[in-house]
Symmetry: C2
Subunit: 211 residues, 2 copies
C-alpha cells in the first residue's frame, strides 16, 4: 500500500506497463530504460512510478518481468475478476458488451440495464438486459461495485444516482455530460467529443484548416 | 493565435466550457465564477485558460455568452465541418458511425474502411465501406485530415501509417496498443482498458476488494 497519494497519471501508466510486458518471458530482467522505451516514456518516470509501491527491482539490473507482472496486477487489482453493470444498450453499449478485451483483463459485464421495453428481458452476448428501475436491487444482490454509463446525456445523472444507490463505488461515464458523484465514488469520463475537439484544435494550429 | 504553447488540459477544458454554455442565452454576461461552477473547476482556472487566447471578457463583469461561444468555437476549430475517415467496421466502428454527437459538433465521418470482403462496397448509415488498401488514395482525393482507428490492436500501426500516407494530420486511436506517429501528426488514444484498470485501482484502495 503506497504511503503517499499516487497520481492518477501514474496509475494509468502502470496499466500501460502491464500491457507492454505481457508477452515478455517471466525470467527476463528488464532494465528500466528498456521498459521506458517500450511504453514511450523516460527511465526516470518508470522508476518514479514504481517507487510509489516499494522496491521490487533487482539493484543495478532492472526489474524481473514475472515480478513486475504480479506486482502491477496486484496494485491495479486486476489479479481478480471485477463484475460490472452496463447501463444503456444502444450502439455504444453493444460495442462495449462485445469488446473481448474487457473479459481478458478481468472485467466482466454481468448485467445490462435499459429502459426500452422491447429490449428488457432479452439476452445479448449471454448477458440479460434488465429494467433500469431494478438497478439498485440487482446491484446490491450481485455485489457489483463498478458501473459503465452508455446512455444519452439526459439520462446519465439519474442512472449514476441509481448505480450509487446500489452500492457502486466506481463509474466509467461515456455520456457527453458532466455528472456529479459523492467524493467516495470514483468517476472517470470518456468524452469522444472532447477527444475530437482537441484534435481539431491542433489541426487548426498546424495551419491546414484552409479557408 | 496564442503566444505560448497551450496545455492540452486547457484545450480539453475549452471543449467542456463550450458544451456547458451551449444552452445559455447569447446576451447573458457570465461571471468567471459561474462558468467555473458550471464545469466544476475554479474561477482562477477559467481565467487562466481563457487568457491564453487574448482578452474577451467584459472587465469586472465576466464573459458575454455569445462571444464565448464564437471565440471558443473558433479556437477549437469547430466553427467548420471536419471530414473524418473511420477505419474498422466492427462493433465499436458501428457505434462511432451511429453516434449522433459527432455530426452535431461538426465532425462528419465521410468514409469507412475495412479489410473484410463481406463488408467492402456496402453502405452503412449512408457511408460507403471501402477497402483499407485504398486509404491513401481516397484520403488524398477527399482531402481528409482526421482519422479514427477502431481496428484490433495488431492492425492499428499499419492503419496509422496508411492514414498518414494519405495526408492525415490527427488520429484518434481506440485500438488497445501504442502506435507510433511522426511529430507532425497529433495522436490521441482512448484506451478502455486503462480506464477500467484505473477504476479497479481505486476500488482496491478503498478496501472493498474483499478477500
Amino acid at each position: 500500500m503506497p504511503r503517499f497519494k499516487v497520481p492518477e497519471a501514474t496509475v494509468e501508466r502502470l496499466s500501460v506497463y502491464l500491457r507492454s510486458i505481457k508477452r515478455l518471458k517471466d525470467e527476463r530482467v528488464l532494465p528500466s530504460q528498456e521498459l521506458a522505451d517500450l511504453v514511450g516514456t523516460s527511465d526516470g518516470q518508470v522508476r518514479k512510478d514504481l517507487a510509489y509501491f516499494g522496491e521490487f527491482g533487482v539493484p543495478g539490473q532492472g526489474y524481473r518481468v514475472g515480478t513486475l507482472k504480479e506486482e502491477i496486477s496486484r496494485i491495479l487489482g486486476v489479479d481478480r475478476v471485477w463484475s460490472i453493470a452496463l447501463v444503456g444498450m444502444g450502439n455504444l453499449g453493444a460495442a462495449l458488451l462485445a469488446y473481448p478485451g474487457f473479459k481478458r483483463q478481468g472485467f466482466e459485464i454481468k448485467v445490462v440495464f435499459d429502459n426500452d421495453l422491447s429490449k428488457i428481458g432479452k439476452v445479448w452476448q449471454g448477458v440479460k438486459i434488465e429494467d433500469v428501475e431494478k438497478i439498485p436491487q440487482i446491484l446490491f444482490e450481485q455485489e457489483i461495485k463498478m458501473g459503465i454509463i452508455a446512455t444519452p446525456a439526459q439520462a446519465a445523472q439519474a442512472v449514476a444516482s441509481k448505480l450509487i444507490e446500489g452500492g457502486v463505488k466506481a463509474i466509467l461515464n461515456f455520456a457527453p455530460v458532466r455528472i456529479v458523484v459523492p467524493d467516495r465514488v470514483k468517476l472517470r469520463n470518456v468524452d469522444l467529443s472532447i477527444e475530437l475537439e482537441t484534435l481539431s484544435y491542433f489541426l487548426g494550429r498546424k495551419g491546414i484548416a484552409g479557408g
